[in-house]
Symmetry: C2
Subunit: 189 residues, 2 copies
């Protein structure tokens, strides 16, 4: 089960058997039922997670009680509240499962251990973060300069697999619009 992660990492960097063992040792498997929290607002994010199977979302809840989905991830993605995970401060966001999921989780100590024992892992993470940065930049740009309709069209082109698996109102939230607006946008396509 950890093997798919090892394989994934190996696409970017080369791992010796010793390296692989080190990584295998630090990740733990965790299963989540649909709707189960991985992280709840107010708690500290002790773990970062690789999604091995299933689908997660991160979201915040504003003062009106409205949810705002900041991230949706499926197999091969990572999920964590980086702020809380890095600083040890309580998180202001939530992460839960949209489907029954299997995660490979890593705590701070385990992470440091890998960074120390497998220097190449540092590079893997750096490259992962670079890609993430590009994606975030894209998303921000999309939020700032495109209409609801344009954002939706871009989304379904870019993430067709997510569209199939995630309820429409969550996609609306991810796009920063209401479910009603998304419904109306879809009608005229």
């Amino acid at each position: 089960m950890v093997e798919s992660l090892i394989e994934d990492i190996s696409k970017t960097i080369h791992l010796s058997e010793t390296d692989k063992d080190c990584i295998r040792k630090q990740f733990k498997v965790k299963h989540l039922r649909k709707k189960q929290y991985f992280l709840q607002e107010g708690n500290v994010a002790f773990h970062s997670a690789y999604i091995n199977k299933g689908c997660l979302r991160s979201f915040t809840v504003d003062k009106n009680g409205t949810e705002h989905i900041s991230q949706i991830g499926i197999e091969g993605w990572w999920a964590a509240d980086m702020y809380s995970f890095l600083t040890g401060e309580p998180s202001s966001s939530n992460i839960d499962a949209i489907e029954d999921s299997e995660l490979l989780i890593l705590d701070k100590v385990g992470r440091e251990a890998i960074f120390d024992e497998v220097p190449q892992f540092e590079r893997f993470m750096r490259i992962l973060l670079e890609k993430n940065m590009v994606a975030n930049q894209h998303r921000l740009n999309s939020m700032m300069s495109h209409t609801a309709e344009e954002r939706y069209v871009t989304f379904i082109k870019k993430y067709p697999k997510i569209v199939q698996r995630v309820p429409q109102h969550m996609i609306a939230s991810y796009l920063g619009i209401t479910p009603e607006t998304l419904s109306r946008v879809r009608k005229q396509l």
Copy 2:
């Protein structure tokens, strides 16, 4: 002049004299006049830049000709179109100087050289990118769940130095609102 960068990096990781020499060798100084482009849409971003002095902005231009500022950076920040820099594809964004600026620039080859010769630099970059990720997450969240006024108030608290140096209409653009709206928001504070 490269020394301030070295010092900056040394806050995160330890550098030997050899390491420092390697870094010194790879960065080049570049001066920009106010309004001068560092990167122009359609061109490939051959360099990533550390802002040693001055102030830069990255922005895109939409189909109506409206500018959307995605980033404003001052001393100690980094500026680049990561997408173009990493992929070698033409950039769809622009970077120019808001003030006369001094940059320390690094091309892809130089960057690879540092990563290979100074393994610790990999860690520095990883940590920098992690911070960037946290900041981007924050910003996205702010765009999705806060009003124009709330975003402005947060901004002036978080970046008072930028407020003093950058024209108001650019801050409006960064916040994703029009100059008129920002003017009205400011009036009632």
